[in-house]
Symmetry: C2
DNA sequence: CGGTACTTTGAGGCCACTCAATCAGTGTGG
DNA sequence: CCACACTGATTGAGTGGCCTCAAAGTACCG
């Protein structure tokens, strides 16, 4: 836990010290709300349980969050991972209950905005609405991609896809450098993300590293050596995927 | 194909003859747009391919749609099924391209609203925005539920969940009666929805019917005999699920 | 009545799972 | 400082659920 926090803090120059960076040019009212509601959470904190009542919208300023669901037998599926710049509206069809569990994967700074306040902000500012719409569309796109792989792809393909998705998303917000980045995930968690057992995640990653496609050291420091082959295994077109899951230039929208 | 159309037409008293029913009390501007843009599509029509440019929002007035994605090898995953009253905004992060393929599962009446017009409508009317937000939240909830099962649940559980989800959704809009309803899906399609091969869908359904839990006749006329046991297999709480995936009383919102 | 689309059942194989043991790294208390 | 606990990664062995291939059965339709 604290190891994760330390890792993230080490990236502080990217997210930590400029927590408002993803929203640098945000309209002043929006920015003010984010500042006023920003709070820090330790790695592993549960913000919301399935079925909790749901009074807030979360805007991720730094760090990583996971949205997950569980079966009665304890099996867990991470439904989406959210990185800085993301918005989480945990409401389900009846907006008063939450359909997923939300927890931090690393130390994270999050603006916890009360629903009423978020509604006011959103009603008052069309650019906030536009930004939220784009964020939601991106989330739907990447969930669709992941569903496709959960249903139909091999373990190798699922892992390759996850590595590529997170690489693209991190690059877009200035995390990592080139094809090198750190994931604040254990193999267990990566398994919950890809629908695999932790044992099989291990074997699959080993196969990829032995094939020279990637390197992995020190609890998920990833280097992608041959992203084209990896993209081929993942069955994605990098440019197409980028346009579908990456919200370009937050600053331009807001 | 035409068999499906015929089946749906047979339900005409529910959706067919009163295509505007799901939006009966919609604000006049909204209702006018739906009427002006309503079009009929035969079963099996592809409205949108992955990667197509994306100039419209679809509002389903009657019939069923599927949103799907495919791998290079042809394997397909149905990412979501949309029933009357649903809104489909096929935009991805960059709103000009479409991340999924959209096609009709039955004869369907759909309001195809140009993006610009939809934006105008949405900007002008907060209740339209609220309705779209609820629809989106419901879609996210059910996708989350399905992802959980794709990743972690047995074939039996996935099928049971799909039957229950669609039963609840149909009941909510007055389709079927009690626990009896018709699905305009082949076993192949149901497999694409649940991440199973059509062969295994067959075996699994057979097991459920032999167990007396459900009946299935005549190309997916479903009767759920023991919904409690089915819910147990699907690992859901019916009431909780309903609140998470069902948009209550469309008419009240609009 | 042949053609087509879908369902059903059998046989066999493989991928990913579970169980289990070992190893490595890190923090902790004596 | 070291023994210990604890968490996570790694590897082996064995199993089983779901897949693929294949063939036959059924319903519908021109």
């Amino acid at each position: 836990m604290d190891a994760n926090a330390a890792n993230l803090t080490a990236q502080g120059d990217v997210f930590g010290n400029r927590w408002e960076a993803p929203f640098g040019r945000a309209s002043t009212a929006f920015e003010r709300v984010l500042r006023a509601n920003g709070r820090g959470f330790r790695a592993g904190t549960t913000l919301k349980l399935e079925g909790d009542d749901n009074g807030a919208v979360y805007v991720v300023l730094s760090g990583w969050l996971a949205m997950s669901k569980s079966l009665a037998n304890g099996a867990r599926q991470i439904v989406d991972i959210v990185v800085p710049g993301g918005i989480i509206d945990p409401s389900s069809a009846q907006s008063d209950i939450c359909a997923v569990q939300i927890e931090t994967l690393s130390y994270a700074r999050i603006a916890v905005v009360a629903r009423a306040e978020w509604m006011r902000l959103s009603e008052a500012d069309a650019s906030v609405r536009r930004f939220q719409a784009m964020t939601t569309a991106a989330a739907l796109s990447r969930m669709s991609e992941r569903m496709l792989r959960l249903g139909k792809a091999s373990a190798e393909s699922r892992i390759a896809y996850a590595l590529i998705e997170l690489c693209l998303r991190l690059s877009a917000i200035g995390g990592g450098s080139g094809n090198t980045y750190h994931l604040p995930l254990t193999q267990q968690r990566l398994g919950e993300y890809t629908g695999l057992s932790s044992v099989h995640v291990c074997r699959t990653i080993r196969r990829l590293t032995r094939g020279g496609l990637i390197d992995m050291s020190d609890h998920m420091d990833i280097v992608i050596h041959d992203i084209d082959v990896l993209a081929c295994i993942a069955d994605v077109d990098l440019e197409v995927l980028r346009r579908q899951i990456i919200v370009e230039s937050t600053a331009t929208v807001l």
